[in-house]
Symmetry: C2
Subunit: 482 residues, 2 copies
Amino acid sequence: MASAWSLERNQLLVGAFVHSKTREELEVLEDAAVAVDKGGKIVGVQTGCETSAAAKQQLLGRLGWSEADVDLIACKPGQFFFPGFIDTHVHAPQYPNVGIFGKTTVLDWLQKYTFPLEASLKDLAKARRVYTACVRRTLAHGTTTAAYFATIDVAATNLLADLCLGLGQRALIGRVCMDTPGICPDYYRDESAEESLRATLETIAHVKRIDADYEIVSPILTPRFAPSCSGPSMLGLADLHRRQGLPIQTHISEHADDVKLATDLFPESGSYAKIYDDHGLLTAKTILAHAVHLTEGEATLVAARGAKVAHCPCSNACLTSGEARVRWLWDRGIDVGLGTDMSGGYSPSVLEAARQAALVSRYVAMPVPSGDARERCKLSVDEVLYLATRGGAEVVGLAHKVGGFEVGMHWDAQLVELNLVSQDGGEGAADKEEEDGFRDGGNVDVFGWETWEERVTKWLYNGDDRNTKKVWVKGRLVHSRP
Amino acid sequence: MASAWSLERNQLLVGAFVHSKTREELEVLEDAAVAVDKGGKIVGVQTGCETSAAAKQQLLGRLGWSEADVDLIACKPGQFFFPGFIDTHVHAPQYPNVGIFGKTTVLDWLQKYTFPLEASLKDLAKARRVYTACVRRTLAHGTTTAAYFATIDVAATNLLADLCLGLGQRALIGRVCMDTPGICPDYYRDESAEESLRATLETIAHVKRIDADYEIVSPILTPRFAPSCSGPSMLGLADLHRRQGLPIQTHISEHADDVKLATDLFPESGSYAKIYDDHGLLTAKTILAHAVHLTEGEATLVAARGAKVAHCPCSNACLTSGEARVRWLWDRGIDVGLGTDMSGGYSPSVLEAARQAALVSRYVAMPVPSGDARERCKLSVDEVLYLATRGGAEVVGLAHKVGGFEVGMHWDAQLVELNLVSQDGGEGAADKEEEDGFRDGGNVDVFGWETWEERVTKWLYNGDDRNTKKVWVKGRLVHSRP
């Protein structure tokens, strides 16, 4: 299938490129050009290109490309390229429930809202409708890679893989394993550990069939969370992990009640993290969602195993779970990315997750006595956008491919446009306004005096999908809007 | 000027109407009709109108209106009318800075970001551009009433009043008073208490000239916050309040540092609330922004005076100020509304403030031991939408006019439309999609099985200005989008 993805022409992108240089620093490459080959890979990055002509002159010869074979995509003034967002934890079947959580916390939320909806997606027509809406919507928000939890249903999970590949979203597809009676309802549970494994193998085989090299879609082993999985089920998945090298995703320490439930069910492990470790699931390819209530000892263990954390700020607020401490996790050597965690989180947007990550860090700071320790809790704009891109890439095991603009990486990116306020205080870009009498450039108003840093900040705080004009995955244009 | 506002025709609005019945309960009037006369007042509310014809039959005769004299506005399926939002605390001149706050807290934020921008708006061309953008943008978000802080500049403040009246936004216009050297920078400070009062009287006179009965725009006395105001300045404003009955707006107990500064400057008062009370500024017409760190004693005093609170959840998170306890304030008999507090808050949207109010209430709940006391901290969807409408109306002293749909109230409202997901998972409303190949109905995806309560919930959590299709103030259409 790799050839199906190959593009007809090379691409030369010219303009401003903003991406994370380090955790602490966004880099702005103005007057730059990026060359993307037919395989969707970045083969050249060149600064000092004030015009498209200069970009061509500097790159085409070096790459041996003829001008006739190149599509030129140039930023308009004020536009910039940004890496595609990476959603490290999202439940596709829960998309219709975004915002609907009432006053529940995670355990009653599962029973009341989540399990009934997930179970209903064994109806494939419904699954197609929900998954299509979810993938289209998240692409529109600039999500180029998503680590999806699907449901226990194999056919519906396979359909999600088909849709991601068809619509062009890079995705890790997780068929959910959950076989513990009492925790999982009778109407929505794997019959046994063997059944969990058999069904998982079926989805792995399907993904292999449609994308042999896991270039766009790939399988991910998905024990829902320790309380929902029997020991044999977890051991079986760990065995599969060892044999096939597949990544793993699950939940950890989301809410105090969830910690208690897990440790009550596995008293011999003594801690939530140790449960996964005892069952072979705590590895350098493991994504742990939430990690709100990890202890020092657990953090040490997680760091030692190289497991990663998906920070889900919206969800943790909605479900009153607590505040995950990103700086604290970083200080302990743990990589962190962002998860929308729909529908525990209310929003399909990773930009919203980044915004809320900045706010959550301030809630982490508030009880700390004023001084350097409090200040360190706060995450900067650059840091939360790192979480949304390179941080996420590390978490999903794709840091060598996506999350930034370097030679050898894939062109997973978005073109961002902000709204220029006209001199009379209206929306700018008169050409569009004249066309149809109405223009909707979104909520980010730029007055013209802002620095690049301020523009990106404004985008973080008031941006939405309207600012994401184009989205590419592996060089292919997978979303655009006027 | 009242006649300038009168409408040429009566209006009959037909469809679903959602508004707060009580703090705890949104009421949905399906198949209803609201009659609005040429003065912009609601003169009839009728349920049981399944068609426009039925609405006409039931209302026109009773009102003595001829059909030829009536404009009919009917909801499409899925649309509903909702009261316009009330922003009880917003700084118009800070609009260009939304999202820009770095890692500051309120006192350094004022010096670093806010005072320089505010001072620069004495340039009237800049003020016109900024204020126009601000008013248009907030109208687009459904804000029909705003309590604005302007700047110390009289001409620019008067211009803000002109723009609100011209663009049709109900507004309280506050010329900011701040005369304390050391706290206020030399480049942005009233020369004296007398100068504060003189300038305030000038803006009052201007507003009186353009809207004699304060029907759309009205003046509000605006001592910035106690630390920035001398005793004589506050006493002078209090005297003006008593003589003219004008409302008052200020800040209180936003951040611990701010509390310390205020009580250090006025040691004889002993508490922040008592400072205002000692200077005659704590009245039933006073809007106190923030009130994050009020003590029990202060809350008792505020309640006794009947002063109100503008809760600013976005701002309090951004500036690491703390979490205001809405339930706690309500329990003490204090009325509460919502403020965007741009640009301490990052968003011009009251819907965003309502969303964040729900989340902040969960942060208030988190440290409380589990049980009823914790559950009570959380605000429901209905409660935060009450804050955004009727609660706000109480805070700005307009509860008899706006915030709900009853006979005698003014038609300050918005028409909300959500996005219906098509059967194939795309956006619905095929007619529009066919027109230009692209449709942007916003982020609220309705699948069709949702209850009214769930639809409103989805709007709260993923809605934005795209869902607000029309906005009316006092019966006049002041914003619409395709």
